[in-house]
């Protein structure tokens, strides 16, 4: 009986879940991909990129923040929702500096890979060309706020995994921007390190490790050979393994 109770249906596919699991985690565990940019396995959900929008009986919800509940009937991979996701991706592109040929992250960028996955051919909306401050103060890490999509993955990674609280998002609407927790507000005076998850988790080219540029040539990068669907499903498996190992270590202690 519990087996039937603990099942949701996504696009007519029965998917098991454990109580407390979100729709996103249940789907990824069953190798059902729901597009996302601000979800990362093991980090608390934030629900800000809205790409994981799904429909439960004509109600739109973010799959990453909505708990799975018995008998939910969910639509995800529909032409309408994928068009909405494409429009959201286009808005993310025009809000910031996402000129791929001039960005070191090209080919490894999740925003770009998402646009490929959704078949985005143009930006549709007028470009913002917003001026945002670049922080090049740190000897090893660059922060280019113009490319930031405010997914707040670095905020959560720094707080939850690195235990440092280096980043936060300040301001609202088009004024929203990433701030650095240090006396000067500069990265150089913060405790961030190149080995932190907050440094490497950035899905776009907003946080980059210096002096590594173009070590992997364009054309041989992740999304030159894989789709974001493939890498996200792998990321989920790797993330779950990591969590299990951590829980195991914690119980042993």
């Amino acid at each position: 009986m519990s087996a039937i109770q603990n099942t949701i249906r996504i696009d007519n596919q029965a998917i098991p879940f454990t109580p407390g699991q979100t729709i996103m985690d249940a789907a990824l565990a069953a190798k059902v991909y729901i597009p996302h940019l601000c979800h990362y396995p093991g980090l608390p959900p934030s629900g800000n990129c809205r790409l994981c929008i799904v429909e439960i009986e004509n109600r739109s919800v973010a799959a990453c923040t909505t708990p799975a509940a018995a008998d939910q009937t969910i639509c995800s991979n529909t032409p309408e929702l994928n068009e909405a996701r494409k429009a959201l991706t286009q808005m993310l592109f025009v809000e910031g500096d996402h000129i791929c040929p001039s960005c070191e992250k090209t080919g490894n960028c999740k925003l770009q890979a998402m646009a490929y996955y959704l078949g985005m051919l143009d930006d549709h909306f007028p470009q913002f060309y917003q001026r945002r401050e670049i922080d090049a103060s740190h000897p090893d890490i660059l922060l280019d706020r113009r490319r930031c999509i405010l997914c707040d993955l670095c905020v959560r990674a720094s707080r939850e995994v690195d235990g440092k609280n280096v980043f936060a998002i300040a301001g609202r609407g088009t004024k929203a921007h990433l701030i650095v927790n240090s006396p000067s507000g500069k990265l150089a005076d913060s405790s961030i390190a190149t080995t932190d998850l907050a440094t490497t988790i950035c899905p776009v080219g907003a946080i980059l490790i210096k002096e590594q540029g173009y070590q992997v040539p364009i054309g041989q990068r992740i999304y030159d050979h894989h789709t974001i669907r493939e890498t996200s499903l792998q990321e989920h498996i790797a993330g779950c393994d990591k969590l299990k190992r951590k829980e195991h270590q914690d119980t042993e202690r």
Partner: protein, 185 residues
């Protein structure tokens, strides 16, 4: 009758590079042996390939580069007025591309940095020859100036991507760029 006409008449294509680097044109030429088959079906009107200076009535216009100067606006409008189908080719035409990196600065700041205050500048003066087209305040994607029918992303789009665009267009069909072919770099 119509079929006979379409088989006899060659499809007219015009191409130009606005604020671009001609890389998209070079990639077009990378079609190599496919070009011979293409030339049986098409003829070029205004294009760097022909050096024809103004566009006549054309079936397809391929635009490389964004809109950076007043002259770019005139050329783009001439293409729109004369081409049945207008295609934005490459990153610069689609979103301004690398030239649009100047949009994060004032035009005056850019000119002063390049021609007056920059490292190694000798005889500092901002060029103002009457022959030089006036720069716009920003570099614009071409779709912000005229209506665009299709977009072919890439920096540059590969020769295969050009074929994927042109083959259906020549057959009078809507081109569909495969997601696996999509590249913005």
């Amino acid at each position: 009758m119509t079929i006979e006409l379409t088989t006899k008449r060659k499809i007219k294509i015009a191409t130009t590079s606005l604020a671009g680097c001609f890389g998209c044109h070079m990639s077009f030429l990378d079609m190599d042996e496919s070009l011979t088959g293409l030339l049986e079906q098409v003829e070029f009107d205004r294009s760097p390939f022909t050096d024809i200076k103004h566009c006549g009535r054309c079936d397809i216009g391929l635009i490389e580069g964004g809109v950076c100067t007043a002259e770019n606006v005139h050329v783009l409008r001439e293409f729109r007025a004369n081409c049945t189908t207008l295609v934005a080719v490459g990153a610069c035409a689609i979103n301004g591309g690398v030239p649009a990196m100047r949009n994060y600065f004032d035009l005056q700041e850019c000119l002063q940095e390049v021609y007056l205050n920059g490292t190694g500048v000798t005889n500092p003066q901002i060029p103002d020859d009457i022959e030089l087209p006036l720069l716009l305040d920003k570099v614009y994607p071409i779709s912000e100036v005229v209506h665009i029918d299709y977009f072919l992303p890439g920096c540059p789009p590969s020769a295969d991507a050009f074929l994927q665009l042109l083959e259906p267009l020549l057959a009078g069909q809507k081109p569909i760029i495969q997601k696996s072919q999509l590249h913005y770099d």
